[in-house]
């Protein structure tokens, strides 16, 4: 078997050194009842690369890729172009096949890139500190709620009506497990505006999103003020990291904890994972943050180097007192993120953001040109919701017949709610003028 270096002779020689008669000796502790006669039944035997590759390629061929058509799906994951060099970098053996940098003398590559990642995320969010990544945006959001409760010693969390429903669900799940009350505001396109009235003296934190799940961008400053007035923390969420190049960042809105999804930068769509959760906060909250932190120090020769630090917050040291149970995070996706950001630079990020916004504006203009269509998102970055007189599911199906994957129906995000006529669509730097024209023409034909 190609992945197993031991030869039969090796095995025998090693058995002799060990003084064991057969491998069965090593499994002597396995209860009789659990000992299998031979290999596990019902599964195929080993196969060569060619066979495996053909099997998987056949499955892949059954999927329609975002790249092959006119594609407008967003809602928490976005189709962007990732430079080829980013993939080359993350495939470097030394980054790909190494572990969490617990031995800093032989892990400076990973550690320096994490330090650069933290610096970039802090600058992009305009926050003081950022950690070395979480699983994804949704789990980062849940951890932010728990952190806010730890910090404020309160047990109530208010969720905006514009918060991505999956993020809300993941947050609700963990909070309720810890007896934290969740106040979920009803889905609303301009959901963040209602937040300030929902905060009270028991509130640990308010969680708003901008751009939100309907694409609406909102200045959360006054919500932050309202929260702070009640000694609650302000948590803000973003699912489109590229927006940070153009839209008011958390740090400019008095936010205490900023979390978001980093997929858009450096990472492919991957059907939802792996992605990279971004987590940033104000200086004074540093020691309450979940996840790993990379810090600067010196070595025995006095040279600058980097290490994982403040691990007394973490499970492997603090166990049941830890700020979170997270261990493995999204290291390699964070590397892809930081590599792409390094290529972009601040100037490139801003330009990329502008191109995304202009594409979305052009799309909105084109769709508004069709009568019966109403763009309902008041202010947006690269994503917005629009209404048609017809059922959204039917519209999307007809769009597909015309070669357009038009977006996500709000009813998939909010099964209960009466949002059957709403479609959420996104445009990025990958969206061409043809794509937009085709979308508008198709809608024209349909409604």
């Amino acid at each position: 078997m190609r992945y197993l270096p031991l030869t039969p002779q090796d095995r025998t020689a090693m058995m002799n050194v060990i003084g064991a008669a057969s491998v069965d000796d090593f499994y002597a502790d396995v209860p009789e009842a659990a000992r299998l006669p031979g290999q596990i039944a019902g599964l195929p035997d080993h196969q060569g690369e060619l066979a495996v590759e053909r099997h998987l390629a056949a499955l892949a061929a059954k999927n329609r890729t975002a790249g092959e058509g006119r594609f407008f799906v967003g809602c928490g994951a976005y189709k962007h172009h990732v430079p080829a060099s980013v993939d080359h970098i993350i495939q470097r053996s030394e980054f790909l096949t190494t572990y969490t940098p617990y031995q800093p003398e032989v892990a400076q590559g990973t550690l320096q890139t994490l330090f650069e990642f933290q610096t970039q995320v802090a600058a992009m969010t305009a926050m003081d500190v950022a950690n070395a990544s979480m699983y994804d945006g949704s789990t980062a959001c849940a951890e932010a709620a728990l952190m806010a409760c730890r910090v404020t010693r309160r047990k109530k969390v208010v969720l905006s009506g514009g918060l991505h429903p999956h993020y809300a669900a993941a947050t609700k799940l963990l909070c309720e497990a810890q007896g934290i009350e969740i106040v979920q505001l009803p889905p609303a396109i301009d959901g963040e505006t209602a937040l300030k009235d929902a905060v009270d003296g028991e509130t640990a934190c308010v969680i708003g999103q901008s751009p939100n799940v309907f694409g609406t961008v909102t200045d959360l400053s006054d919500v932050s003020e309202a929260a702070h007035a009640q000694k609650a923390l302000m948590v803000s969420v973003f699912t489109e990291a590229v927006s940070l190049g153009l839209v008011t960042p958390p740090g400019e809105m008095g936010v205490d904890i900023a979390v978001g999804e980093g997929q858009s930068i450096g990472n492919a769509l991957n059907f939802g994972g792996p992605y990279v959760g971004l987590f940033a906060a104000t200086q004074k909250l540093t020691r309450q943050m979940p996840g790993r932190l990379c810090g600067e120090t010196i070595d025995a020769d006095g040279n600058r180097g980097f290490v994982l630090t403040l691990s007394t917050r973490e499970q492997h040291i603090r166990r049941d007192k830890a700020t979170s149970n997270i261990c493995t995070n999204s290291g390699l996706c964070a590397l892809a993120f930081t590599a792409h950001m390094t290529l972009l630079g601040g100037t490139g990020l801003e330009r990329l953001a502008r191109l995304n916004h202009e594409a979305a504006c052009a799309l909105a203009d084109a769709l508004e040109g069709v009568d019966g269509v109403e763009v309902v998102t008041p202010r947006f970055f690269n994503e917005f919701a629009f209404k048609t007189p017809m059922n959204a599911e039917a519209v999307l199906a007809m769009l597909d017949e015309r070669g357009v994957i038009g977006g996500v129906r709000a009813s998939r995000l909010y099964p209960g709610a009466e949002l059957d006529d709403l479609i959420v669509c996104a445009a990025t730097e990958c969206t061409t003028e043809d794509d937009i024209a085709a979308y508008a023409d198709a809608i024209q034909e349909i409604v």
């Binding site: 329609r64 940098p101 945006g137 961008v217 010196i298 691990s311 493995t328 390094t342």
Partner: protein, 523 residues
């Protein structure tokens, strides 16, 4: 400077390896100096060519960024060089044996990387219509079948993004089951062995449970006497979180009895499956009375660790817990494959949603490629070779180091620091291994063994590599036993000398800040 046969210096003071001239460039041979991007990048530079924006009026309604990020860019040549240079400061499986106990650092096949990059997997969106991603749903279903068959369990939740997240999944299922029984308020106590990984107690707490620690007995297994005591009043018992094979690298001899006791007590058995590599293809957790177990695809099933992630922790569930699995999950009917995303219908009893989308698809593809490559026959061999390699290492080292427990081990060999001279610590041995060209073993874990050294070679190491490794570690161990002070200055041949972790924690510097604040603003 002289050297004894065992590689011990005759003149320790000369140990500061400065024999080669300091260079003007700051580089040395193939080890290139590389500053932080903030120190040599520029906002004038970019490694990405983007068309110029048209300048059309925006629709941001004034919600726009005031201050730029001030972040520097690099041209592509500089950026590629930056990361390639930094990469060479890392140790990696592709460079050598990586005996981190409990981490299963095995070879990562490149076929997996290639497969995961097929546009049909990498370029599909989690929210695009389900009829356009039938191949993806089928792959998830196929992987689920492998996991269920290999573990002998009826159900599996694919959402968890890593092992700890899988623990969360399992414990939330248990929580939901207790809730369904109306016993959630009374049953809060979770038994956790002292040898458990930190994520276990942390997870229990995160699910609102309390942790009751059980000690290990002289054999490194659960102390059954203590366990029985703790179960005498069992009205408040929610369950147990037990790692098997355990973190001492031993199979829990009494595991079936433990399962029976816990079930009799009205609790559930969560098994930490991080060490599944020792038994995959040979023993099915389902035959051991397990109710829930996470599987680290990034350990047993070879998806790369990537310097800290991403991982993937699908969690198998027993009949008792299956109904509470999180959404979304894939079901197959005549129409094809379908995602159940909402808490209703088939998912009415689900404990809820853990993440935004459908789990770590990229890792699923890799893990399935690995399973198909090994097959049921190969996976059995994987476990047997992993265990063989570990026992070989234990056998070759037991003469010079102190095995923590008697008898054969499973996939990892555990030693205590009993053999070392006063003043020499586990960390000194670990750092000295670096000078031998190896990554250190897991240190000071599990906590039940003093100065623990946990070695997991995995099955992808050759006999020759193991022989060389054992000879090297034996030599270091002899120095430790002899109290060789020079171990304190190890490593000497790594890109950096020993780093000061205390200093880092005392006044944390967690990001780069410009010499004079103006510098950044002025971009």
């Amino acid at each position: 400077m002289g050297m004894t046969s065992t590689g011990r210096p005759t003149a320790p003071q000369a140990f500061h390896a400065d024999a080669a001239p300091q260079s003007i460039s700051g580089s040395r041979g193939l080890l290139q100096r590389e500053d932080l991007i903030f120190e040599f990048g520029s906002t004038e530079k970019t490694g990405v060519d983007l068309p110029a924006p048209k300048g059309t009026p925006d629709r941001l309604g004034g919600v726009s960024r005031k201050r730029g990020t001030g972040l520097p860019g690099l041209s592509e040549p500089e950026a590629v060089r930056h990361y390639v240079r930094l990469s060479q400061r890392n140790y990696a499986i592709d460079l050598g044996l990586f005996p981190l106990g409990s981490c299963t650092m095995k070879h990562n096949p490149r076929l997996n990387e290639k497969a995961a990059r097929l546009p049909g997997f990498a370029d599909i969106h989690p929210m695009q219509p389900q009829y356009t991603v039938q191949g993806a749903l089928e792959l998830i279903d196929e992987l689920a079948t492998w996991l269920k068959t290999l573990t002998g369990m009826p159900a599996v939740a694919m959402s968890p993004k890593a092992g700890a997240h899988g623990e969360l999944c399992g414990m939330l299922a248990i929580r939901r089951a207790l809730e369904a029984r109306g016993e959630l308020e009374t049953r809060r106590r979770v038994l956790v062995p002292a040898s458990a990984h930190g994520t276990n107690p942390a997870t229990a707490i995160q699910c609102g449970f309390t942790v009751d620690e059980i000690s290990a007995d002289a054999r490194g297994r659960v102390d059954m006497v203590e366990l029985r005591e703790k179960l005498e009043d069992d009205s408040d018992v929610a369950g147990i979180m037990l790692t098997n094979p355990n973190t001492c690298g031993l199979f829990e001899t009494d595991i079936r009895e433990i399962a029976d006791l816990i079930h009799a007590a009205g609790g559930y058995f969560y098994c930490d499956g991080a060490n599944f590599n020792a038994i995959v293809g040979r023993v099915r957790p389902g035959d051991l009375g397990v109710d829930a177990m996470h599987i680290n695809l990034h350990k047993t099933f070879s998806t790369p660790h990537g310097g800290g992630g991403p991982g993937s922790g699908p969690t198998v569930l027993s009949d008792a817990l299956a109904a509470y699995a999180p959404v979304p999950f894939v079901v197959k009917d005549d129409a094809g494959f379908r995602l159940v995303e909402d808490i209703e219908g088939e998912a009415a009893e689900s404990f809820g949603r853990m993440i935004a989308f459908h789990g770590q698809m990229g890792m699923f593809v890799r893990a399935l490629a690995y399973m198909l490559s090994h097959g049921a026959d190969g996976l059995k061999q994987v476990a047997e070779d992993a265990v063989l390699n570990a026992n070989y290492v234990q056998a070759k080292l037991k003469g010079v180091m102190t095995p923590a427990f008697d008898g054969f081990c499973m996939h990892e060999a555990l030693f205590s620091d009993a053999f070392t001279a006063d003043g020499i610590e586990t960390i000194d041995i670990a750092k000295a291994l670096i000078d031998e060209g190896y990554h250190p073993m897991t240190m000071y874990f599990p906590l039940v063994v003093h100065g623990a050294m946990l070695l997991e070679p995995t099955e992808t190491e050759s006999k020759a590599e193991l022989d060389r490794f054992c000879a090297s570690l034996a030599a270091v161990a002899k120095r430790a036993a002899a109290g060789d002070e020079s171990l304190k200055s190890a490593p000497l041949t790594a890109p950096m000398k020993r780093l000061d972790e205390t200093r880092a924690a005392r006044k944390p510097i967690l990001k780069w800040t410009p010499p004079e604040p103006e510098a950044v603003a002025a971009e």
